[in-house]
Symmetry: C2
Subunit: 237 residues, 2 copies
DNA sequence: ACAACATTTTTGTGATCACAATAATTTATA
DNA sequence: TATAAATTATTGTGATCACAAAAATGTTGT
C-alpha cells in the first residue's frame, strides 16, 4: 500500500466568484479524470486539505460530490478511494459509453448547424496537431471536448452528466493503459462522424461514434492484454 | 411563490450504523422521487435542518449529493431548487430512459436465472394487487423495484446509478401528472418482458422495456396535454 | 401610488472544535 | 521470533460560529 504516493495536481484556475469548494472539486476531478491518482489509493480529507492549502470543509464537499458521480468510492469504513478496475467492469463501462453516446449523438444531430460543425472540425484539427506529441492527457482532453461539443448541440440535453460520469470512471485506468500503448495506430473516426453529420445520416453517425469509442479501447482487444493492464493497475496497492 | 409550501416527509428508517447524513439523504431523496417537493420550490439548509431536527451540516452534504445526481439544481445565486420541467426536457428524459434501460436489460439478460425470474414475477404480482388502490407512490416504487431487480442481475452493472438519476429527475413531475391520470388503462408490459426473458430473446426484451417506459408516459401522448401538465406544475411558483 | 434607496434579516460558505470510530504502532506474551 | 493485546495517532462525522452575499423588508421622495 503506497498510500503516500504523491498526487500531481494540476491546480484549476482560481477566478473570483468561484467558491473554494468548486475550485477543489475541479482540481480533484481533473486529477481523477487524467489518472493522477492510482486506483485503490485512499484519499483523506485532512491530507488533501493540507496539500491544497484549504480547510477540510471544501474538501469534504468535493469528495462527496465526486463520490455521487461514481468517480470515487466510499467504502464501508467510510474511507474514500479511487475504485479499482476489473475486466468485466471495464467492458460494461465501454458498452455503456457506446449505448449512451450514440444515443446522445443521434439526439443532437438535428441541432447541429454550420457553426458547430466548424467548431468540431477545428477541435479535430487540434487533435491531429497534438497527436505527434504522444502525450495522453491533452489528446484525451481534446477528444472529450469533441464529444462534448457534439452532444451539447442539443439544447435540451440530459445525458451529458451521465456520460461524464462514465468518463470519470474510466479515467484512472485509461492513464495506466495509455502508457503502454502507441496511439498512432488510431484511425480518425471523427472525420467519418462529421461526414455523417453533413449528410444528416443518424445511423452512420451512431456507427462512427461507436467505432470511435471502441477503437479508443482497442489496446485491450484480447482478454489477456486487458487483464495484463488491470493487474498492473492494481499491483501498486 | 409559495416558498413555504410544506413538505410531507416520509422519514427514512434511522437504524444504527447509518450516519445522519445518509439518513437525511435518504429522506430528501424519497421526497424528490415521489414528488413531495414541487418543482421550483427553494430549499434552504436551515429550514430543512429545523424540519428534520438535525444540524445544518448533514443537510448541506445531502443537498450537495442530490445536486450531483441532478435531482436538485444549484442556481447561480447558490440557491437550491427542484428543477422545473419543460416539454423538451421531459421528452429527452424519456428517450434517455428508453436507451439506457433497454441497454441495461440486454446486458442483464444472460445473468437472469430461475430465482430472479421468480422474484420479478413476485414483484409484478404485488403491482397488480396495489393497482386497485390507485395510489401513485406505492405503484411507482414497486415498478422501480421491478426494473432495479432486472438490471442488477448483471453483477458488473454500471448503469443503474445513471438510470436512478433519470428517475429522480422525472419524479417531481410524474407525481403531478399522475394526479390527473387514471392508471387503469396501462397494459402489463412486465409480463411481456418476462416472456422475453424466458425465451432468452434480447430484442423482444428491449422492446418490452421500451414499451413499458413509453406507456408510463402516455398520459402525455399529445404535445398539448403534456404542455398542460407542465403549466400546472409550474403555476405554483 | 409607485419607484428608488437604505436597513434588517436570512442565507450559503468556510473555519474550527469535540468526539467516537477506525487504523497504526507499540508493548507484552508465548 | 511471531502473535495477541494494549496504547497511541489519525480519521470522518457532526456541531457551532463568523462573515459576506443575497433577499426581504421598511422608508423615503416624487
Amino acid at each position: 500500500m503506497d498510500k503516500n504516493s504523491p498526487i500531481e495536481f494540476t491546480l484549476a484556475e482560481r477566478t473570483a466568484s468561484v467558491t473554494i469548494t468548486q475550485w477543489v472539486y475541479a482540481t480533484l476531478r481533473n486529477a481523477v479524470m487524467y489518472g493522477k491518482i492510482l486506483p485503490g489509493r485512499a484519499l483523506t480529507i485532512r491530507e488533501l486539505a493540507k496539500e491544497l492549502n484549504v480547510s477540510p470543509m471544501p474538501v469534504r464537499e468535493a469528495l462527496r460530490q465526486l463520490a455521487a458521480e461514481n468517480a470515487l468510492e466510499i467504502q464501508g469504513n467510510r474511507r474514500v478511494i479511487v475504485p479499482k478496475m476489473t475486466a468485466m467492469k471495464f467492458n460494461e463501462l465501454c458498452q455503456a459509453r457506446m449505448a449512451l453516446e450514440s444515443h446522445a449523438a443521434e439526439r443532437a444531430l438535428p441541432y447541429i448547424d454550420e457553426t458547430r460543425l466548424q467548431l468540431l472540425q477545428q477541435i479535430d484539427a487540434q487533435i491531429d496537431d497534438t497527436q505527434i506529441s504522444g502525450n495522453h492527457e491533452p489528446i484525451s482532453a481534446l477528444n472529450q471536448e469533441f464529444h462534448r461539443t457534439l452532444y451539447t448541440a442539443n439544447p435540451h440535453q440530459v445525458t451529458l452528466p451521465l456520460i461524464e460520469s462514465l468518463w470519470l470512471q474510466l479515467g484512472p485506468f485509461m492513464k495506466l493503459a495509455s502508457a503502454h500503448l502507441e496511439l498512432s495506430t488510431q484511425v480518425d473516426r471523427h472525420t467519418e462522424a462529421m461526414a455523417a453529420i453533413e449528410s444528416r445520416d443518424a445511423f452512420a453517425l451512431q456507427l462512427a461514434i461507436k467505432a470511435d469509442i471502441r477503437e479508443g479501447f482497442n489496446f485491450a482487444s484480447t482478454p489477456e492484454s486487458l487483464q495484463c493492464f488491470i493487474d498492473e493497475s492494481n499491483r501498486h496497492n
